[in-house]
């Protein structure tokens, strides 16, 4: 079974997107998922008094929906589109392919993710799709030694979470890009972008593309230390360098389990143990995360921003690669 997690419009609830300096940068996703689950639980119909349960959590069937073997957490009605005409907006979508998930699934994952966003925003196309491949960091030659060390540390941090952190191999990136190019030529996406590519990787990548990335999105921890080579190369290739502050591993398995599991911090979706019938049984494996933002172009107002995440769950979760 698939679990489709959604945040709804996180601009409305606001506080979940404020990150304090000490917190990890995927806190926006995690907090807003949690907040959206809680809001849905609270507005669910009152519990049937005939059902006695020791847990204080609202039973998940009352605030989630099962449809075509996909459990929407919470129930997503797709009733709210954008308030103005489509041309008023810049719609940017960032798709995070998660570590350890075989590249062969990305074609399907990409379509799945884009479809959900189009449905949510009531639009037929998006302006920019940025894809984030797992395990990619700036090319070492672009960065100073000091930064390399930082990245090493980060890498270790990341791998401790998933145990499967490894750089994406180049061929599968090209493979994935073909899918994106198809979607682009079908008119579903106006522009494509990549994330965390250094100048060397870009130079290796570009010759294999028909549709060039128009954006390279990089994480600026300490602003203004962008490698000069990257700036020059991007300018030459007319690739816009944009900033972001998403983290490398946006939805680790452990976090997902905690988010959906029983207990104080969980939504009570997953069974508390294999023998218990109090929830969905089996292992959970996040597949991808997609973030979307709709910005009113000439006013710079973010009208809608949210995430979808998809996880497989069950006793026969597909083999992980590697």
């Amino acid at each position: 079974m698939k679990l489709i997690l959604s945040t709804s419009n996180i601009m409305i609830s606001g506080e979940t997107v404020i990150r304090h300096l000490t917190e990890k940068s995927n806190v926006e996703l995690i907090n807003s998922l949690r907040a959206n689950f809680q809001a849905a639980q609270q507005s669910a119909p009152p519990k049937d008094p005939t059902i006695t349960t020791t847990t204080t959590t609202t039973p998940y069937p009352s605030w989630t929906t099962l449809h075509n073997d996909a459990l929407y957490i919470p129930t997503t009605t797709f009733t709210h589109g954008l308030s103005e005409d489509r041309p008023q907006y810049d719609i940017t979508v960032k798709l995070f392919y998660l570590p350890g998930i075989p590249a062969s699934r990305r074609c399907a994952h990409t379509r799945e993710a884009i479809d959900l966003v189009l449905k949510e925003l009531h639009v037929s196309s998006i302006d920019l799709l940025i894809v984030s491949f797992p395990g990619i960091l700036f090319d070492a030659d672009d960065d100073s030694e000091e930064e390399e060390e930082e990245e090493e540390e980060e890498k270790e941090e990341g791998s401790s979470d998933t145990g499967s952190e490894e750089p994406d191999d180049f061929d599968s990136m090209i493979q994935t890009w073909r899918t994106l190019e198809e979607l682009q030529s079908a008119g579903m996406i106006a522009q494509l972008g990549v994330a965390e590519f250094g100048s060397e990787r870009l130079a290796r990548f570009l010759p294999h593309t028909t549709v060039k990335p128009s954006v390279d999105q990089i994480n600026l921890k300490d602003c203004c230390v962008v490698p000069k080579s990257l700036i020059l190369y991007a300018r030459q290739e007319k690739i816009q360098l944009l900033t972001h502050n998403d983290c490398m591993d946006v939805l680790p398995v452990g976090t997902t389990r905690e988010l959906l599991g029983p207990g104080d911090r969980g939504a009570g979706i997953l069974a508390s143990s294999p023998e218990m019938q109090d929830g969905v049984a089996g292992d959970v494996e996040p597949q991808w995360v997609v973030k979307y933002t709709a910005v009113v172009k000439d006013r710079g107002v973010v009208e809608n921003k949210g995430y979808f995440a998809l996880a497989d769950v069950g006793s026969c979760v597909q083999e992980r690669s590697g």
Binding site: I12, S13, G14, H20, P45, T77, L220, L242, H244, N245
Partner: protein, 682 residues
């Protein structure tokens, strides 16, 4: 068009430079006041009906930077205000004309290729200039990058039209305005018929008939001269009690000269007696165009509580008339300098001839909220708001909603000050001149501006008016852009900064204290987030607001039920700007950062924005000094300073020279001003 969008903030001259008419003296003007108000209201209604449906206007915004023109006499070591406004503006206008023909030396500046030349405008003081960008800024983030360089360009252009020893200086006030020496050039004797000031001559003001009339009619309506008493900063050797030594008790030119003999100058205060001491101040004002009237009204309300915070954060006014004073900002001095209230209106005499007691000057913090916002609780409104009920009734009868009608009926309790008899012959409903007569002489810290009737492409606008001008263009760009980003965060997150409006009035007073930015606390709303107004995911299809039904396990406390007093508390500016340490208040900068993380910003822009936000973050937490603190420290460290609060001609000259150097070098590599710009010497 652009000039109309930003409009000259303080005195509304931009639009009003017109064929000279006959300006009415006060007794005559007073007789026609009702007519002007009535016609103004009719123009407002006509315009409101035309414009209330305007939709989808883009965000356009503009900044206004004001300069003092200071002439340096390097031999005599003297800095003087130069009354060269007219000559400079004439030369600038000539250049702007030749620009359009493509042969101006200005258009050779490659860095600004494709940019419209900046606009320059006269201001009240004849030693002042105001400059605005050639066309309004948009929200394209690349536009934000141009602001600082455009400000620098404006300064360059202004400088190029001045005498070699003259400099455009962005200090709020000239430290020695109104002293006994020759602080202006050319020199004129004080005590003229319009200002009747014993410190400044009539020639200090722009000679356009509007300005002397404005000054004279304010004085005449008030029934006495302007009276400003600013507490002296008491240093080691300051006389106790301090009696302003520049006051002349033996002057007998005008009846108003009796004022000081009747106690107008107070002990322990610096005494000033003319409009020029206030309206001669330079400010940094920002005007935004909203998407429609609704959004404009929302921004007006939400920015209002930020006014005093930004005033304290930009504090830059520690000197008046050659003395260090105990306040850090200009605001109340301008308020006092244009205070036309009579003794009856002030509450000093029982009401006999006047209609109301009026608690605030025409130049003061704003007193109304105008947004039709469900979050606006009636407890936030001023219960003692003075409103002209007849005017309110005509507005409501004309179809305007109660809140907006109340706002304008509040502004219209004032008298029009400058009336040209020619304008009273016929009412033109396609103009806004009578409306603007009142609207633009209500100098509140926020201004809500209807679209000009003759400009179809301009929408509803809001002006944020409390900030002090900063000494460098880097700082002015930083504060301008910060406010723009705050408005985007307000709209994107639907933030709620409402507090009872009287608390904002109190905050405005608090902002005056010396070093208020670090030492005072301000009322601010604890939780700026709106609750989820609806939950589209609720499985019972409820359309919101019932999320607190008693059937729930853990109903969150409904914010609408809690007492208003529990919604806000006293906070430090650092907490308001940077967020509180315990995380209970998110902070304006983190909110702006979150906004920026939600939009596509290119690397170069993000880096510039980071340096602007860094400045504001560090001003708020005290790492960097305010302009006021830097000026105080400069004076204190000057070898010529005798710890007696006196800012001598020599200190003033060195200070102006240092400020001029600072605008060029911006504190880089330990140059002057690093304490307020960089925080470290390298």
């Amino acid at each position: 068009m652009w000039k109309v969008l930003v409009t000259c903030a303080k005195t509304n001259v931009g639009r009003s430079f017109r064929a000279l008419g006959t300006a009415l003296d006060w007794p005559e003007a007073k007789k026609r006041a009702d007519q002007v108000r009535r016609w103004g209201i009719e123009q407002l209604l006509a315009n409101w009906r035309r414009a209330k449906g305007k939709e989808r206007n883009a965000l356009l915004w503009g900044d206004e930077v004001e300069y003092l023109v200071v002439a340096l006499d390097d031999e005599a070591k003297k800095a003087r205000l130069s009354l060269a406004q007219a000559e400079i503006l004439k030369s600038l206008a000539k250049d702007e004309a030749s620009w359009k023909e493509g042969n101006s030396p200005l258009s050779q500046n490659k860095e600004h290729d494709g940019e419209e030349p900046p606009h320059f405008h006269p201001e009240f003081g004849r030693f002042m200039l105001e400059a605005t960008p050639g066309k309004p800024w948009g929200i394209d983030f690349k536009d934000l990058l141009k602001v600082e360089s455009n400000m620098k360009w404006r300064r360059e252009v202004a400088k190029a039209h001045m005498a070699p020893n003259e400099h455009p200086i962005t200090l709020t006030t000239f430290p020695r305005l109104g002293t006994k020496d020759d602080y202006i050039q050319p020199y004129y004797l004080p005590s003229g018929p319009a200002l009747r000031s014993q410190f400044v001559p009539d020639e200090i003001a722009n000679p356009h008939i509007r300005f002397p009339t404005l000054a004279a009619n304010i004085r005449s309506r008030r029934g006495r001269k302007i009276e400003l008493n600013v507490p002296i900063y008491k240093d080691e050797n300051t006389p106790q009690p301090f009696k302003d030594p520049t006051v002349n008790y033996d002057l007998h030119d005008w009846p108003e000269d009796d004022d000081v003999r009747n106690g107008a100058a107070k002990d322990d205060h610096v005494y000033m007696d003319a409009m020029a001491f206030g309206m001669g101040s330079c400010c940094l004002q920002i005007t935004f165009q909203a998407k429609n009237m609704t959004e404009g009204r929302k921004l007006y309300d939400q920015l209002s509580p930020l006014g005093p915070i930004l005033l304290a954060l930009t504090a830059a006014t520690p000197i008046y008339k050659g003395f260090l004073v105990d306040t850090d900002v200009r605001w109340n001095q301008i308020g006092g300098a244009v205070d036309d209230r009579t003794r009856e209106e002030l509450g000093e005499l029982p009401l006999k001839n006047d209609r109301w007691r009026i608690p605030k000057s025409r130049y003061a913090s704003n007193s109304t909220y105008i947004s039709q916002d469900p979050r606006l609780r009636k407890e936030y409104l001023d219960p003692e708001l003075i409103v002209d009920e007849d005017i309110k009734k005509s507005l409501v009868d004309g179809g305007m909603d109660d809140l907006l009608a109340t706002h304008f009926a509040h502004l219209f309790i004032r008298d029009p000050l400058v009336i040209f008899s020619e304008d009273l012959e016929e009412l033109d409903l396609n103009k806004a001149d009578h409306f603007e007569n009142l609207q633009s002489t209500n100098w509140q810290h926020m201004r809500f501006k209807p679209p000009p009737p003759d400009k179809d492409d301009i929408g509803w606008r809001v002006e944020f008016r409390s900030m002090e001008i900063q000494m460098t263009d880097f700082e002015n760009a930083a504060f301008s852009i910060f406010i723009v980003l705050v408005t985007r965060a307000i709209l994107s997150f639907d933030l709620n900064f409402y507090i009872p409006i009287q608390r904002t009035t109190e905050n405005m007073e608090t902002a005056h204290a010396r070093n208020a930015v670090l030492e005072q606390k301000f009322y601010f709303r604890k939780d700026p987030f709106s609750r989820r107004r609806q939950n589209p995911h609720s499985s019972n299809g409820s359309n919101g607001s019932s999320a607190t039904s008693s059937a729930d396990n853990t109903p969150p406390a409904s914010p609408s039920l809690s007492p208003v007093e529990s919604e806000y508390e006293l906070m430090t500016i650092s907490d308001i700007i940077n967020g509180s340490a315990d995380g209970s208040f998110p902070g304006l900068i983190p909110l702006v950062e979150s906004y920026l993380n939600s939009v596509n910003v290119d690397v170069e822009t993000r880096c510039s924005l980071a340096s602007y936000l860094e400045l504001i973050r560090k001003r708020a937490n005290g790492t960097l000094w305010t302009g006021a603190k830097w000026i105080r420290e400069f004076v204190a460290a000057h070898p010529g300073y005798k710890q007696d609060s006196v800012v001598s001609e020599e200190i003033c000259y060195d200070l102006i020279t240092a400020v001029d150097e600072m605008t060029q070098k911006e504190g880089r590599h330990g140059t002057v001003g690093w304490e307020l710009l960089r925080g470290k010497r390298n």
